[in-house]
Each structure stands twice: as structure tokens, then as C-alpha cells.
Subunit: 301 residues, 2 copies
DNA sequence: CACACTTACGATATTCGTAAGGATT
DNA sequence: AATCCTTACGAATATCGTAAGTGTG
């Protein structure tokens, strides 16, 4: 029993004629005849009564009609679905992104992607950088976006751009007059930052530790938006990735590059080797790289 | 995309190895390889990543696994069902029978049939003889049992036995002493019979009309059991098919042959030409003929 | 005798298995 | 070197189309 036979049977059952069913199937009459005969032999009995002048379904044939119809419909649906999937007309893709990126640059790429592939669902998980890597490693998502991890193992990293950390100050802050701010000058004021274990916090701490600078944290929070707001309200100063610049400026803070020591990390896409990606994910990777090509975050006003 | 390819894909997806899948499918490794390749080409993309040492599903392949599993299960269920149907291990058969037969002889045949084919459901419609023929003609049932119809058209009739009508009397009735009773003597008493349009009523009326005997009906009812009870309660006399003899005697009535004119009709199976019957129905026809072969209803006590 | 399906048979296409090739551990 | 999958190619199998056969109206 195979698909052709079922399709042939249905054609005969619908047209009630071998001749017209044969033309409908682009097949010669005898070929169709043999196909039906073979189906009958396989199943163990007659499906049709042929009386040279008239075709009729046997009761068993009658029983097969709805079964065959259902079977064929399901078969064709499955085939279509798979073809659509490969043609990027259907599918899902899950991306994990560190929150700072998800809230700043990512939407632009998603928009670009959606224009090209409107039928692919995109799910975004905005989670801590460590979780991003973990989700990629566990195949919970196909693509992750974060700072370049120290431990890639078998994962691939596609850099998107270089991010330099910047200082943010309340308006009318004494340091506002300086075009670049040193850590030493900055830390004279109350320092606000993210709570552990965010990657931003980790980078700041390790960088300062290496430079032999002591860090006293006045306040910390889980979300950059909170930190930005605290700064703009004059509670203190902070250092954030440059990609948060727009957001913090909108909140009324002032941004200045931090130097000595400068913190700079590559941001990029973490994923399984490209050959292991779904077509939809590979396309997303291309869109990401394309969208952020030549992205240079201004660290100066 | 065909069944073999889907089955091959599932085998590979389960074993995660072309080699073991090939042996499981009783196929050479290269043949399996080509089959998968052909499937992939048909669908338009890779389903598996082959790295000589390790096989993995692509995301699209991952999506296909449950689809393929479902598809294959449904396919095999359908195939099994049809095979069972032809092997008489599955199926339904509907029979229409006139009530007098359904309540007397039919159960024996059904029992015989059920012993041979325990997995076939049998539905019995006990309806008036005219309706029996109509249901067969409309293919509502495959087999009908009734008196031989006058108008068969393209239907077949397989006689089971000859039924002679008998008179039934209350106990201690004046006519009880006679071994055979004439219509003339019988009609001296209150006559009870079935309501129109039962075939029994019709036959009695047409027979008497042809013989020039006038019929006055004292009481009539829809069911033979009612008529039998009325007789045994002494409300009058009746004439019923001999096959009702046991039932009426159980009710306490006395049976005697009626002669002058004798009413005798063949009882048998009405159906579409045998070649149009389902295997299950053809088997039932055989059982019916077999069960009632050499059935001679005693018209004498 | 015309029509519709079946059977027969040679041709084509597909699928299969063996053998050789390539890549990874 | 051993293992596993792919590619190559000749062989077996299945399917197809043309032509002849059969039976019915």
C-alpha cells in the first residue's frame, strides 16, 4: 500500500470511472487498473466492482474512501508544512539576548527580519548574559546575543560591534564639563551599578580590581532602566555599556566616555556551528550581522 | 515524498545511525542513504547533519519527527483496519427483518454467525416487510429478511423456507377438536389480526378477497405478541405465520393449520446481487441459508 | 459495434546492493 | 587503522504505456 495507490483509488472513487481518473492522474488507463488491482491484492479483497459498463464501490471500498481522504489530506499537509519550513515561510526561532541589547538595538534587527520572513515567529528571551550562553548551549534558543563569553567551548561567536563603557551623570554634575572622565575622578561620587551577577557588574569589578582601584557601591539594581533613573535623579553616577546611551539620555542623564582603564568588549551572536542552525536561524544570523555592520557606538556626545 | 522515505527517516532519527537503521529496515546502508537524500531533496532542505562520526537532526528534522510518527501510525492503522475488514475480523453488518422472523428464528442465525465472526457487529432492524425491502434497496442494510416480495427489480431473493399460515385459538375453544380448520369455520368467531400495512394483514386480506370470503376484523394490533395475548385471553381467533407458533403457544394459545384457501409464502433473504455484498454480509447470507436449511415448520401439532 | 476495463508485453524509471571513496576518531 | 557515511555503477525490481483481449449494452 503506497501513496500513489491511495491517490489512484480516491480518483476512481470520485469520478466513478477508470478512464477519467486516469487522465486526471496523468496516467494511462491500464496503469491505473494495475495500481488499483495491486492495492486490492495488498489489502486482501475487492474495493470496486467492475461490470465493464459500470463501476461501483464495494462496502469495503466505501469504508476506505473517508479513510483514504483523511490519510491523503494529512500526508499533503505534512509535506506542505515541511516545504514551507525549508522555504522560510513557516517556522519559529528563539533568541536570547542580554537585556541591554534587547532594549536597544535588537528591535531594529527583528524588524528587518520580519520584513523578509513575515511568517516566522520570533521569540526573544531577555536574560542575563550567562543565561544567554547557557540557553544556547542547551539548545533552548538557537541564537544568543551578549558580550563575547570567555568560555565558548564548541559554540561559535559572530562579533557584531565593539562596545565601550560610558559614564552617566546627572545634569549639572561637576564632572559634566569634562569630555572624558577617569575612573578615579568618577569614584569620588556615589556609584550606582547593576546587581550581581550581571555581566556589566562583573566586568566593572574585574577591570577595577586589575587596575588596583577600589570600588564602593552606593546603590545597585537589577535593571539598567532603574540605574539610569537613579542617576538622572541625582543619586549618584554610573558606568554602563554605550548601547544604553540613548535610553539613559532619554531619562535625562549625561554621558561621557570613561578612560583609564577603558572597558571595551565585543558584543556578538553566540550559537551552535552555523551548519547546525535551522535555515530560519541562519537567516536571522545574517540579518543581525547585516543590520549592525558598520555600527560604531559614539562614546562622545 | 513516499512512505518508504518517511519510514527510513524515522528509523534513522530513532537509532541516530544510518547503519543500524539500515539493518532494521532490511536495507543496505547506501540505499538508505539515497532514500534520505531523496527525501531531503524533495522537501527542499537538510533533515540530518552527517559528520561521519555523529548524526544529528537539524531543527527541521526535529520538526519532522513527530509529524512523521503521526503520519506513519495513521497509515498503518488504516492499512490494518482494511486488512481486518477483508479478513472478517472487523466490520459491521446491518440486517432488516420482519418482526415475526426477528423474534423467532433470526437469533439462532445471529448466534451461529457470531461464533464464526466474533469481531463483526450485527445490527438488526425489525421493521415491516415493506420497509425491509425499502431498506435493502436504499442500501441502509445489506440483507433483508421477509416474505418473498412481489417486486424485486434488481434485488436478489434467497429463499430460506416455506411458511404456511396457521390459526391460533384460545384453549378449550370449540374448534380445538378439529385438526385442520377452514377459513369459513374460523370466521364464525371474532377475528383478531395485525393492523395495516403489515404483510400478514395484506396476505390474509388478498387471499380471502380472491376466494370471495368476507373478512370482519374484530380487533387488530401492531405486534404479533399482542395478537397472541388477545387470543390466549379468549378475545377471539387469529391467523399468523407458522414461525410464530412457538411464541403463541408459549402465550397459551392453540395452533391449527388453516386450509381452504391455504396461505403459504416463501420467507427468504433479500439483498443486492451477491457480488455487491460486503464479505461480512456474504458470510451472513451463507450462515442464514445454512442455519435454516431443511427447516420445515410443523403446521401440525 | 462501440465503449470501458483487463491482460500481455516490451520499454522506461526507480530502487537496490556491491564496491570504491572520503572523513573522522 | 577502523568506523561510518557518501558516491558510483551495474543489476534487480517496479511501473508505465501501447496493443490486444474481454464482456456488456
Amino acid at each position: 500500500m503506497n501513496i500513489k495507490q491511495v491517490r489512484a483509488f480516491l480518483a476512481v472513487a470520485q469520478t466513478m470511472s477508470f478512464a477519467s481518473a486516469a487522465t486526471q492522474l496523468h496516467l494511462s488507463q491500464p496503469a491505473l487498473s494495475l495500481s488499483i488491482k495491486s492495492l486490492e491484492d495488498n489489502l486482501g479483497g475487492k474495493l470496486l466492482t467492475r461490470t465493464t459498463r459500470h463501476i461501483a464501490l464495494t462496502p469495503e471500498g466505501e469504508a476506505l474512501v473517508p479513510i483514504a481522504r483523511r490519510l491523503l489530506a494529512q500526508w499533503e499537509n505534512a509535506e506542505d508544512e515541511m516545504k514551507q519550513r525549508f522555504a522560510l515561510q513557516l517556522g519559529k526561532i528563539a533568541i536570547a539576548s542580554m537585556p541591554s541589547f534587547a532594549a536597544s538595538l535588537l528591535p531594529k534587527a527583528i524588524r528587518n527580519y520580519h520584513v523578509s520572513y513575515p511568517n516566522i515567529q520570533v521569540a526573544i528571551h531577555d536574560v542575563l548574559s550567562d543565561v544567554v550562553v547557557e540557553m544556547v548551549r542547551n539548545n533552548q534558543v538557537e541564537l544568543g546575543i551578549s558580550f563575547e563569553p570567555t568560555n565558548l567551548l564548541e559554540l561559535s561567536f559572530y562579533p557584531l560591534y565593539e562596545d565601550r563603557f560610558i559614564a552617566i551623570l546627572p545634569k549639572n554634575h561637576p564632572l559634566e564639563t569634562q569630555q572624558t572622565i577617569s575612573w578615579k575622578a568618577l569614584l569620588e561620587y556615589d556609584f550606582i551599578t547593576l546587581q550581581r551577577p550581571s555581566s556589566v557588574r562583573t566586568m566593572i569589578e574585574s577591570t577595577l580590581s586589575n587596575a588596583g582601584i577600589e570600588l564602593n557601591v552606593a546603590f545597585d539594581a537589577h535593571q539598567l532602566a532603574t540605574v539610569g533613573r537613579m542617576v538622572s535623579e541625582g543619586m549618584g553616577v554610573a558606568v554602563v555599556p554605550a548601547l544604553c546611551r540613548q535610553q539613559t539620555e532619554e531619562q535625562g542623564a549625561v554621558c561621557r566616555p570613561v578612560i583609564e582603564p577603558e572597558i571595551s568588549r565585543r558584543v556578538g551572536v553566540i550559537c551552535q556551528p552555523r551548519s547546525n542552525l535551522s535555515i530560519a536561524a541562519a537567516a536571522m544570523l545574517d540579518v543581525l550581522i547585516d543590520t549592525y555592520a558598520n555600527t560604531h557606538l559614539d562614546s562622545q556626545t
